[in-house]
């Protein structure tokens, strides 16, 4: 091969194929470039390239991934996304998670961007198939997605799932964790008007093909950080906590560390994963406490009638946790997940309780 031919080959490798768009990102920390396939959102393409573009929910809700299109044509999938409410559209502002490039484009992102995530895997898109749907309560369903390509992810991370015929994508935390896994376990709570929750509870979900993007999320657990663990979760927000508990169990982490789990549901009948909690408590060397907070049923401060390792309490989970943890926050790493008002309330009591911001981990989906 001549050097000329090699140069040509190289040029072909470097230049984007005609069906890909070249995207330039001007961020506070420098200028970065990646290319984007048709149909791929700018956020996912950039993250899959390794860039730490600002984002939280990745599904149009939070507004964190806003950017300004300086040149080039783009297409916005979900104009009414809640996170887009405050955008200055006339200036070209968009949510990266809702926007696709129609040609080469230049973006400005008002944040620092790194070329590689510091601790986590670079996310990627994968095909998947929904399997093993299992109803846990009247409105909670556990399910699995068999992935076409295996994925590495940390305890506490989430993925974004797109289902056929449903507009937009939904973020779900994994109940499991690990390396090279070809199966992720998720849990969804059916909400009034919740498209995905209704769909997953319906007849067409089992075996359905979905698109999965991930892993995402920084609310992760790393045993080498050597902290006591405080977990406050409402409803399906418990998913990530289950992966953290599982990871901690593998390390026999509660032999040398304290753990406090507060799980909020409405009534006793709405509780789930209770066998797993009871088992974790059994193996927790007396250092793990799990409390099921019931917001709409007062059974007193007693043990769970079937799962004696689990305590019951009456009230909203962040208030139950605040009362129980007063004076015991020293040295904890706090994980919070659930409906936005619960997350806000929990963060408020953690800060008042003296927990530093670096010791509060949460990924806000809403």
């Amino acid at each position: 091969m001549t050097s000329l031919a090699r140069a040509d080959d190289l040029a072909e490798l470097i230049a984007p194929a005609p069906d890909r768009c070249a995207v330039t990102v001007d961020a506070r920390s420098g200028t970065f470039a990646f290319d984007c396939a048709p149909g791929e959102t700018l956020l996912y393409a950039g993250l899959a390239h390794g860039l730490t573009l600002p984002h939280e929910c990745a599904t149009g809700t939070c507004g964190t991934c806003r950017a300004r299109v300086m040149s080039g044509e783009v297409d916005v999938a979900w104009e009414e996304a809640p996170g887009a409410a405050k955008l200055k559209r006339d200036k070209g502002d968009v949510l990266l998670c809702q926007t696709r490039a129609l040609g080469d484009c230049v973006l400005r992102v008002p944040s620092d961007v790194l070329e590689k995530p510091v601790r986590h895997q670079i996310p990627a898109a994968r095909h998947g198939v929904i399997e093993n749907l299992r109803r846990l309560t009247s409105d909670v369903t556990h399910f699995e997605i068999a992935l076409a390509e295996p994925m590495d992810f940390d305890a506490g991370q989430f993925v974004v799932v797109e289902a056929p015929g449903l507009q937009g994508a939904r973020a779900y935390s994994m109940v499991n964790h690990g390396s090279g896994l070809d199966r992720i376990e998720l849990v969804v709570k059916r909400k009034p008007g919740g498209g995905f929750g209704d769909w997953i509870a319906g007849p067409t979900a089992e075996g359905a093909k979905v698109e999965v993007f991930g892993p995402l999320g920084r609310a992760t657990f790393h045993p080498d950080e050597d902290r006591d663990l405080l977990m406050i979760a409402g409803g399906s927000g418990i998913a990530g906590m289950m992966s953290i508990l599982a990871r901690a169990g593998e390390e026999d982490y509660f032999r040398t560390h304290k753990g406090y789990v507060f799980f909020g549901v409405r009534t006793l009948a709405d509780g789930f994963y209770l066998e797993q909690f009871a088992r974790s408590v059994d193996r927790g060397h007396g250092n793990l406490e799990v409390t099921l907070a019931l917001s709409h049923e007062n059974l007193g401060d007693v043990r769970h009638p079937e799962h004696g390792g689990v305590k019951l309490a009456y009230g909203f989970v962040h208030e139950v946790a605040a009362a129980a943890m007063a004076g015991r926050y020293d040295g904890v790493m706090a994980y919070v997940a659930g409906p936005p008002p619960m997350v806000d309330g929990a963060i408020r009591s953690l800060i008042i309780g003296g927990v530093g911001r670096a010791a509060i981990r949460y990924d806000k989906f809403g």
Partner: protein, 124 residues
């Protein structure tokens, strides 16, 4: 407008925030235990209403939405991911009454300056 009455000092308990209307200008008054601050009613990050989203502990005001924080004693950004300073009105207390110097309403320019202009992106 000049010095404008906000509220009585006793109206704002230590470590709390209060939203007041100062002759048509919405201002949040913060009592951080060692003094008071008067500021625009929103977080400079994503316009969250600070009287709801803000929490004060150990002189530090934190917006619970994304954990941006400022030390109300020094007015410095309190580390973490906080990227913008908090704006405040000059404030004085006279006979238990809190007054702010309101020449014009302080605002954060979310759309054109600070976060999106050329200075912001300069790579010095």
């Amino acid at each position: 407008m000049g010095w404008t009455y906000l509220c009585d000092a006793s109206d704002v308990a230590p470590d709390t925030l209060k939203l007041v209307d100062a002759d048509g200008v919405r201002i949040v008054v913060a009592n951080y235990g060692q003094g008071f601050r008067a500021m625009p009613p929103i977080c400079p990050h994503m316009e969250e209403p600070l009287e709801e989203s803000g929490v004060i502990a150990n002189c530090v005001l934190t917006c619970t939405k994304h954990l941006w924080a400022w030390n109300l004693g020094t007015m410095e950004m309190d580390g973490g991911e906080t990227e913008k300073p908090l704006k405040t009105y000059d404030l004085k207390e006279e006979d238990g009454r809190l007054l702010a110097l309101v020449e014009e309403e302080l605002t954060y320019d979310f759309d054109e300056e600070d976060d999106m202009d050329d200075d912001f992106f300069s790579k010095s």
